[in-house]
């Protein structure tokens, strides 16, 4: 038998009486650790996806919405822009690269994005199998989407209109998309997208009718009743614009004619020259386009988010302080009814320091128990959140990681637990056993 065994037994003996303490402590710890996990993974996701995107060019509307829709693919787009109109911006010498993104369809609720192979290259996403899409109606699927949809190489599917699953049977398009490749998991947005040449989107929605300016970026249901006749002629016209390649300029002129009709949802721009932020905004003036800066918008979002997080953390810290007080009070009060058993331990040869350690250990165990429950709670919470995120954003959080911040949380909590039991332990140390034993 050891002091540690007695402390352990005492801790469980009291577990009933200290349920409230444990509850408070585990909620405090749970909330804080959950905030850590969320914060860490959200900022990880945001930062990974923002990469080197300097601007997003898209239809007028909320700049944050534009960013969320086109960089993170979690919000509805602000609308569409005309490829022809966008030319003067994306061809500007301060722009190094422009990647087109065209929305319009989904497969089982997973977004099909019309773009160029540069999009995945830009995020350094490698192919796992197959090849990168080349011609219209070829798709290369992100790893997570492929896994969840059970898509295999060579498989074909029909798309649904819009960004959400709800499109009914008759609203589906007739063209068959063919899976030609699957990307490797990268932790970026590519994982949950289905990529196809931008021409696929155009051909699906064809050019029978022109939207004046985009309405929510989703080509309306009537449009696709029109025939989907026109094929390959546009196959390459929206190729990633790479101004480093000289031949582009000549082509651009000819292609203007066709491009007039075509729309994309946005362009992701990477600047070449530092003065781009001064020059480009001038160019979008008096158009129905806007230029949003992901870094600034996400910063703003983070700030607001950060305030919310801080409030939640403050509440959690308050709960923890109360729980430490509660640990202290419960140990201190228990001393009164336990003074006899402590006195007996002394008569049996127990030294003062052993009683001191006993009480400290009891506090320690109590806090450790709350801590463990709290850390488990936060994992359960994150798992639930992850399920929700999976439903609404096709994204998930990892609940089974342990962050460095959590080591601090563990250390500080255990430390404070010891501090809270210090005074009761000292009282046990200085107890007058004879007085205790004769007052019965």
């Amino acid at each position: 038998m050891k002091i540690i065994f007695i402390a352990w037994k005492n801790c469980w003996q009291k577990a009933g009486a200290t349920t409230l303490t444990l509850l408070l402590l585990s909620f405090g710890v749970g909330i804080i650790s959950m905030m850590f996990l969320l914060e860490n993974q959200l900022s990880d996701k945001f930062n990974k996806n923002i990469k080197d995107i300097d601007f997003v060019l898209g239809a007028k509307g909320s700049p944050l919405q534009l960013i969320l829709a086109n960089v993170y693919h979690i919000d509805a787009p602000t609308g569409n822009i005309k490829v022809s109109e966008a030319q003067k911006i994306i061809k500007n010498p301060t722009v190094k690269e422009a990647i087109p993104l065209a929305y319009g369809d989904n497969y089982e609720g997973w977004r099909i994005v019309g773009t160029t192979p540069r999009y995945a290259e830009f995020y350094e996403v490698k192919l796992k199998e197959g090849k990168v899409f080349e011609t219209p109606f070829e798709v290369t699927v992100g790893s997570y989407a492929a896994k969840e949809l059970g898509l295999k190489l060579g498989q074909t599917f029909k798309s649904n209109h819009g960004l959400d699953k709800e499109g009914e049977e008759e609203e589906g398009h007739d063209q068959l998309f063919t899976v030609v490749g699957i990307y490797e998991a990268s932790g970026t947005v590519i994982d949950r997208l289905i990529l196809t040449p931008v021409e696929s989107i155009w051909e699906v929605h064809d050019h029978g009718d022109h939207e004046e300016s985009g309405h929510a970026g989703i080509v309306s249901a009537e449009e696709h009743d029109a025939e989907h006749a026109h094929e390959d002629e546009h196959a390459h016209e929206a190729d990633t614009l790479d101004n480093d390649h000289a031949h582009e300029d000549e082509h651009a002129e000819e292609e203007h004619a066709h491009e007039e009709d075509h729309e994309v949802t946005a362009y992701l721009l990477i600047k070449r020259l530092p003065m781009a932020p001064m020059i480009l905004p001038q160019l979008v003036k008096n158009t129905n386009m806007q230029l949003a800066l992901p870094a600034i918008e996400i910063n703003r979002l983070n700030e607001n988010f950060g305030i919310g997080m801080s409030v939640v953390k403050a509440v959690a810290i308050l709960i923890m302080i109360i729980s430490f007080l509660s640990v202290f009070i419960s140990l201190y009060n228990a001393l009164r009814e336990r003074q006899y058993e402590l006195a007996i331990l002394r008569t049996l040869g127990g030294r003062r320091i052993q009683l001191f350690i006993l009480i400290l250990l009891e506090g320690f165990f109590m806090v450790a128990l709350g801590l463990i429950i709290g850390l488990v709670l936060s994992r359960v919470g994150i798992t639930l959140l992850s399920d929700m995120a999976k439903d609404s954003f096709h994204d998930e959080f990892n609940a089974m990681i342990f962050l460095p911040q959590e080591y601090y949380l563990v250390g500080i909590t255990l430390g404070l637990g010891v501090v809270a039991s210090l005074l009761p332990a000292l009282r046990a140390f200085f107890m007058d056993i004879s007085k205790t034993l004769s007052n019965d």
């Binding site: 037994k9 008569t347 127990g350 030294r351």
Partner: protein
């Protein structure tokens, strides 16, 4: 050599009576009753003898060692090894079973006592069947026997008992007295019993009376 010897013990409570105790000594294999009506200082004397309280004057010598020369941890350890105390009211560690409670005695005094020794002791006190019970579920008489088992498990040379039979019926009182006596002889120990139990007065010859206290 006397196992315990006291000389001119005095104790004064800070806001209470001054207690003056007669000197006495007890040899190996001896039994001594400490009698006196309530409030005459029997429990206080017992605590002085066990080194739980320090006398204002006088000396307690146990096994040739003056308790006043020991302090802190060494006194605690000396007490644990040499003195077995049965208190007026039994107290136990609530979270532990009967057997674990009595094993606390060898643990805290660093004595080597096996679990089977502890079980033997419980058996002799007719409470072996309760060994895995929590002490709070026992009757007062059973609790008292557990307390006695705990005091004797370390084979102390001085056994101090404060009203050990007060909660027991005739039969169990006799058993307890016999057990205390047996152990006393087996260990060549000295047995001091504080009591006003008439049943014990008939059994034990040697006695000291504490008289009404001076204030």
């Amino acid at each position: 050599m006397a196992i315990i010897q006291t000389t001119n013990l005095q104790y004064t409570f800070s806001k209470g009576p001054q207690l003056i105790f007669p000197s006495f000594q007890a040899e190996e294999n001896s039994e001594l009753l400490i009698l006196g009506s309530s409030g005459t200082g029997k429990t206080t004397l017992l605590h002085l003898l066990a080194g739980l309280r320090k006398p204002n004057a006088g000396e307690v010598v146990v096994n040739g060692i003056r308790l006043s020369t020991l302090s802190g941890a060494s006194l605690d350890r000396f007490r644990g090894k040499n003195i077995g105390v049965v208190f007026q009211t039994s107290h136990f560690v609530q979270s532990l079973s009967v057997i674990d409670n009595i094993l606390l005695a060898p643990y805290f005094s660093n004595n080597k006592v096996s679990k089977s020794d502890a079980e033997k002791m419980l058996d002799r006190l007719n409470i072996l069947s309760k060994k895995n019970k929590k002490t709070s579920t026992l009757s007062v008489g059973e609790q008292q026997r557990v307390a006695i088992a705990r005091a004797l498990l370390n084979n102390p040379s001085l056994i101090l008992a404060d009203e050990p039979t007060s909660a027991l019926d005739d039969e169990n009182a006799k058993d307890v007295l016999n057990l205390l006596r047996e152990q006393t002889h087996a260990l060549k120990a000295a047995l001091l019993i504080v009591t006003h139990d008439n049943r014990l007065k008939e059994e034990v010859r040697q006695r000291i009376e504490l008289t009404a206290l001076k204030s």
